[in-house]
Structures are given as C-alpha cells and as structure tokens.
C-alpha cells in the first residue's frame, strides 16, 4: 500500500502528457457510421506516426513493449487528456491483436498486426449468436472442412461495429460431435468474403452500434485458424484474461468528469421550485454526493485491479466486481443528469448530448456479460458459492 512514483515514471508521464496535449483530437467526434470508423482509424494512424501505438504490444510486432507501470501512466494521461476511446478499433487493439500475439502463427502475425497499429485495418468480434449469448459455448455456426478451406454457415449477432470492420475474430463449431467447449475453432474471417451479409442493428439510442452477420457457404482458408483446429474455446478464453485494469481507466475518468460536470451544473441551475439553486435541494445534493463517492470508489476498485495486475500475470474473476460496479453506476449517473436537467434533459442539442449518453449507458449492464451473469461469476468464482442449475 503506497503511492508508486519514480523520477523515470514522472519524466515518462510528462512525455505522454505533452504529446497527447498537442495531438489528441478535440470534440465533437463522429458518433456513427463510416465517419466514425474513418475518424477512429485516422486517430490510430496519428498515434502510430507519433510513436505511441501499441503501448502494451511487443516491439517485435511494432508495439512499444512498455512495462505495465508505463502502460498505466499512458492510459491515465490518455484519459486525463480526454482522448477518444478506441470504439471501432477496440476489438483489433484489445482483443484480436493480443490473441494473435499469443496464439497466432508467425505468418498470421506478420499479416495482421502492423495494419492494426497503423490504423489501416480494424476488426470485429463474431462470438455471440441468437441462441448463444450469456451461454456462449452453445454456439451453432458450423464450419466444415473442405480441402484447404472451411465452409462457414450460420449467423452471429451483436457484432459491435460489424458493418464497419475489415476483419473478424470468428468462433465456429468445427466438430459437432465433440463436447460443447471442445469442437470450436477461432478463425480469422475476411469481412469482404463472398457469402457474408451484414445487417446493421439500430439500438435504442438511434445508433447502429452492432450488426447481425449471416454466413452462406463462406470459404475461409484453413490457414486462418488460430491456435489449432477445435481449440477455439481455449484461444478465446486466454484473451479474456488480458484485462489487467488498464482498459477501464478511460471510462472511469470520463464518468468522474461527468459527475463533476453535474455538480457544477447543479450550482448554476435553478431548483425545481425556483427559489434557489438545484444543489440546495436536499435530494439533489444527496444524489450527487453519493455519485461522487461512487466514482471515487470506482477509481479505487480500478486501483485494486491494477495492484493485483502488478503481482499476477493472469487476473482472477475479481475484475467482475469493478465491471459490475461501473455498469450500474454509469446508468445511475446518466439518469441523475436527466433528473437534474428536468425538461431541458429532453433536448438533444448543445455541447453535451445528455439524452444520448443516458440511452447509451444501458449497454454496460448487458454487453460483454450481463450484470446478472457477473453476479453469478462473483458468487461462484470469487466467493466460492455452489453453481446453480443453469451453470452445471
């Protein structure tokens, strides 16, 4: 228990801060469609050209190979600068790329890693299916071996930015006879392949965040299988353990900034009875103070995740605690914003689109594991409670 600081880290922090201060794009950013994708790629390219791409990636593959402490400093400064989140580059940078680094063949790494860092190509994830969401290992998309190819048939859904991605990390069932976790393969899928149809899905926020992808006899070279045929579940699971607390720093800063902004607004806005300021209302003050306490605790939970990451390479299920906390908190923060704004909260104008942020806040308790699944995981894998009927 201590504050970690060395002169070297401080000097490194100054470098990060200077570069980000001069280069991070200012808001507003495109929020949807190809404009969003092009913006994300351009920002990635800028980081590459500035010598800041791939902070956690090995030098052999074009990354910076920074120590975990340096990565943390970079992510803190990135968040402090309010630099854009990776969005349509997220899967490539934080999931597919790291998976290839660990599990990919040399040829796969040479082909794919540098174009990611240079902002030339992005990726999406083809894991969930209409019948396999929380119960992912129930996936049904088939891939039959035909000579040197796999022939894929089936459908994937909730593929974030699937309509904007160049490549996909795709989980398919290559051995239908094997037990459900055993007959799966992790393959690199070219989203321009014949037989792929992508239908964007518009969410409750009005944005086409994700897509359903249909595969009709899509031919994928066998050489695109990563980590061995039928070994895809293990390949997918190794990457899920990559999160050592760096990826959530930006979200946590953003939420803290939002709460500070709400408190400042409450000092300026009139109260609902018009007799004072909104902050003078006891309920409003309670809500905002509680939210501020909780965003501070979120930061402390993240620090705990990071502290564990500094000691062990593969983090345990405890990371679900911070993820669940964030998912619930972000919804409350944005609901409080609308409470505070009253009728003004209906208006989608101005610098901060509060209605959009409110609607978007619902995704965190659903995507990447619902809050209920996270509670099961905390109960069973952190606390050691017996498994329920569904998980047997």
């Amino acid at each position: 228990m201590r504050i970690i600081g060395t002169p070297e880290l401080t000097a490194f922090r100054d470098q990060c801060r200077t570069w980000l201060g001069e280069n991070a794009p200012a808001k507003p950013w495109p929020m949807d469609g190809e404009a969003l994708r092009d913006f994300d790629l351009a920002w990635q390219r800028r980081q590459y050209e500035g010598g800041w791409a791939g902070v956690s990636w090995p030098k052999d593959y074009g990354g910076l190979g920074l120590s975990l402490l340096e990565q943390l400093v970079w992510h803190e400064e990135y968040a402090r600068a309010g630099a854009p989140q990776s969005r349509s580059m997220f899967v490539a940078l934080s999931h597919a790329g790291p998976t290839l680094i660990v599990q990919g063949s040399e040829a796969q790494k040479q082909r794919h890693l540098l174009p990611i860092l240079k902002g030339e190509e992005n990726w999406c994830q083809g894991f969930s299916e209409p019948g396999a969401g929380s119960d992912l290992s129930n996936l049904k998309t088939r891939a039959e071996i035909d000579g040197e190819s796999l022939i894929v048939n089936g459908t994937k859904i909730w593929t974030t930015y699937g309509h904007l991605a160049r490549w996909q990390e795709l989980l398919v069932r290559t051995d239908p006879e094997a037990p459900r976790h055993k007959g799966i393969s992790w393959v690199i899928c070219d989203m321009r392949s014949p037989g792929i149809e992508v239908r964007p899905i518009v969410t409750m926020s009005g944005i086409a965040h994700f897509a359903q992808v249909f595969y009709d006899n899509v031919r994928i070279p066998l050489s695109n299988v990563v980590g061995g045929l039928h070994n895809g579940w293990k390949v997918a699971m190794t990457t899920l353990g990559f999160e050592r607390g760096t990826g959530t720093i930006a979200h946590q800063y953003e939420l803290a900034r939002t709460v500070d902004e709400l408190i400042t607004m409450a000092r300026d806005l009139p109260s609902s009875d018009g007799r004072g300021r909104a902050i003078d209302d006891g309920t409003t003050a309670t809500d905002l103070a509680t939210l501020r306490a909780e965003v501070m605790a979120l930061r402390s939970l993240a620090a705990m995740t990071i502290s564990r990451g500094l000691r062990q390479a593969v983090p345990g299920a405890e990371g679900n605690i911070a993820a669940l906390y964030y998912a619930e908190l972000t919804r409350r923060v944005h609901a409080a914003a609308l409470d505070l704004l009253g009728p003004r909260g209906l208006e989608r104008t101005g610098g901060h689109d509060w209605p959009l942020a409110f609607l978007e806040s619902f995704k965190w308790g659903i995507g990447g594991g619902t809050s209920e699944i996270r509670r099961n995981t905390i109960g069973e894998r952190v606390l050691g409670l017996p498994k329920g009927p569904s998980a047997r």
């Binding site: 228990m1 003050a285 620090a303 405890e318 606390l383 329920g388």
Partner: protein, 320 residues
C-alpha cells in the same frame, strides 16, 4: 497517480499478527457473555495490544511511536472491525495523535493512561462509549478534541447491548474540523469496512452449507446475487478506505477522500449486516446467532462524529 492498494510484506506481517491475536483473544463469540461487554474482554487483553505496539503504530518515532502511517493504522482498524473489538481500542490508537504534551502521549502509547470516544449529542450532552475506566475522552463532533473525563456519567442502555454507554452532561463546544478529525473518521471507516467484510464471510459460509429444496441456498440466484452485491459493496468500501489511507497526508484532497470512505463504509457495513441477517433466515433473527451484533455495532459507529449530510457536504465541497 498510480497507487498500490495491496499490502507490502511488512504491512502484511502487521495485518497477520493483529488478526492472529484477535482470533485467539477476542473471537466474536465472546460477546455472547455479558462479562465481555463494555470493553472488559479488551481490558483483559490490554497487555497484548501494548506488546504489539498497537497504540503508537502511526506515531512518529521521534514522538515515541513506530513511525508507520495511516495505511498501517487502517489495516489494524479493519481487523478490529471484523472482530467487533471495543471502540476504546480504536480510541487509544487515535489519542496519541491528539496529545499535545510528550508525557501524556507516552502514557497513552504505553497504555497506562486510557482514552475512549465520546460523541457529542448537543452542546450540553455527550455519550461516552466503553469508557468505564477511561482517563481521557476523545470528543467526536464536527471537529475532535482530547479532554479530561467529566466527573458525572450516567449509564444508559444502548441499542448495542455489548457496549457500555454513558450520558455525560457538561459543556461541549463545537471544534473546528482539522486533519485529526479526518484521521479518526478514516479509522472508523476502516473499522466499518471490516464489519462489511466479516458479515459477507458469515453470509457466504452459511449460504454454502445451509440446504433447502435439496441444495445449498447459495446455489439459488436470489441468495447468490445478494452475496455478490455484498461483495461488491464490501470491495468498494475497502478499496476506498485503503486508497484514502495511502493518500492521507500526501497533499491530496484528504477531506473528500475520507468523507467518501466513511460514507461508503457506513453504507456497506449497514447493508451487509442487514443482508447477513436476512440470509440467515429465522436463525438470523435470534439472539444466539451473531448476525445481530454486527448490525448493532455498525449502527453505533455510523453516528460517531459523523452524519450522512456532513459527509455529503465534504464530498461536494471537493469539486472545484
């Protein structure tokens, strides 16, 4: 700023030795016997606390202490909370920080002179907690002060029957809030985070073994999710307490950090204590099950020199 919230080897050693002592001398079951109430069991173990150096742990070596910091104090306070140790022990740890003369400080660290907490009810009334042989009082209000014990104290029955509560009449002026008040609030927050953790452990142990409908009740999501929420609240409170303790005195926003720790630890202790009773079902409502002891202690600590409103004001004031 990168903060390591896990204990160093030395800090782990301190935590382990305090826990070992408490497990041996002050198991929570002791409170089933009235003879242990009011800090009596702690007075019997006083020499062990002194031998461990507990009362001077966060005092500078030049002042006769061990030269450790708020972080180590918080670890000890958390362990005390897990065992529902008399708050007089926490007060004895806090008192040397408030002593202005060297002789008094030395006697407090050596345990010869005893201090206890009293919480200010109004300008003319205070409540003394577990102070049957206290020489000094730490008055807890908006600010704190170390004062002589008034002559008159009227025993009064307390919500927490394991505590000896006494009503004091006198003059209790408001003291301005200073760092010492935040330091004590941090200790109390750490104590509460210990209660949140202990109630979680107790609930999980019961849910994993108590069977109904042919399986442990912890296999049912209604119970499992309650336990998961207890774990989340406990983890958030603990992480914030440790963060505030590490940051304390490092030129950061101590007041808001401590207010945050206190608010969340109070909330976690109370809600986890409630949930623990509920998970124990009818057994949880009985006197023989220890679950009620945590709830009562959490209620008591929640009002010591603190109110939700005061913590909220400190939190909001921290936003520029």
């Amino acid at each position: 700023m990168i903060v390591d919230l896990l204990p160093s080897e030395e800090q782990q050693l301190i935590d382990d030795s305090v826990r070992a002592l408490l497990a041996e001398r002050l198991p929570v079951e002791r409170l089933r016997e009235t003879a242990s109430h009011g800090g009596a069991a702690e007075r019997a173990a006083w020499g062990d606390f002194v031998a461990l150096g507990l009362f001077g742990i966060g005092i500078a070596e030049a002042d006769g202490g061990h030269g450790l910091g708020a972080a180590e104090e918080a670890l000890v306070a958390r362990a005390l909370g897990r065992h529902l140790v008399s708050l007089s022990v926490l007060a004895q740890m806090a008192a040397p920080h408030l002593a202005t003369d060297d002789a008094l400080r030395t006697r407090l660290i050596s345990g010869e002179t005893r201090a206890t907490f009293a919480t200010v009810v109004d300008q003319g009334t205070a409540q003394r907690i577990d102070g049957d042989n206290a020489d000094w009082l730490i008055l807890l209000g908006e600010g704190v002060a170390l004062v002589d014990v008034p002559a008159e104290a009227a025993p009064i029955a307390c919500l927490d029957e394991t505590v000896s509560l006494a009503r004091l009449d006198g003059s209790f002026p408001a003291f301005e809030r200073a760092d010492s008040a935040d330091r004590i609030s941090l200790l109390l927050a750490a104590y509460l985070s210990g209660i949140a953790q202990a109630t979680l452990d107790m609930a999980v142990a019961y849910a994993a073994t108590r069977e109904q409908f042919g399986q442990p009740i912890g296999a049912f999501q209604a119970i499992k999710h309650m336990c998961a929420d207890m774990a989340v609240r406990g983890a958030a409170a603990e992480a914030q307490v440790l963060h505030a303790a590490v940051a304390f005195g490092a030129g950061l926003d101590d007041r808001a950090e401590v207010a945050c720790a206190r608010l969340l630890a109070t909330d976690a202790a109370l809600r986890n204590a409630n949930a623990n009773i509920q998970i124990h079902g009818a057994m949880g409502f009985t006197a023989e099950c220890d679950a009620h002891l945590y709830l009562k202690r959490a209620r008591l600590v929640s009002v010591l020199g603190s109110s939700r409103q005061a913590e909220q004001e400190r939190l909001l004031a921290g936003v520029a």
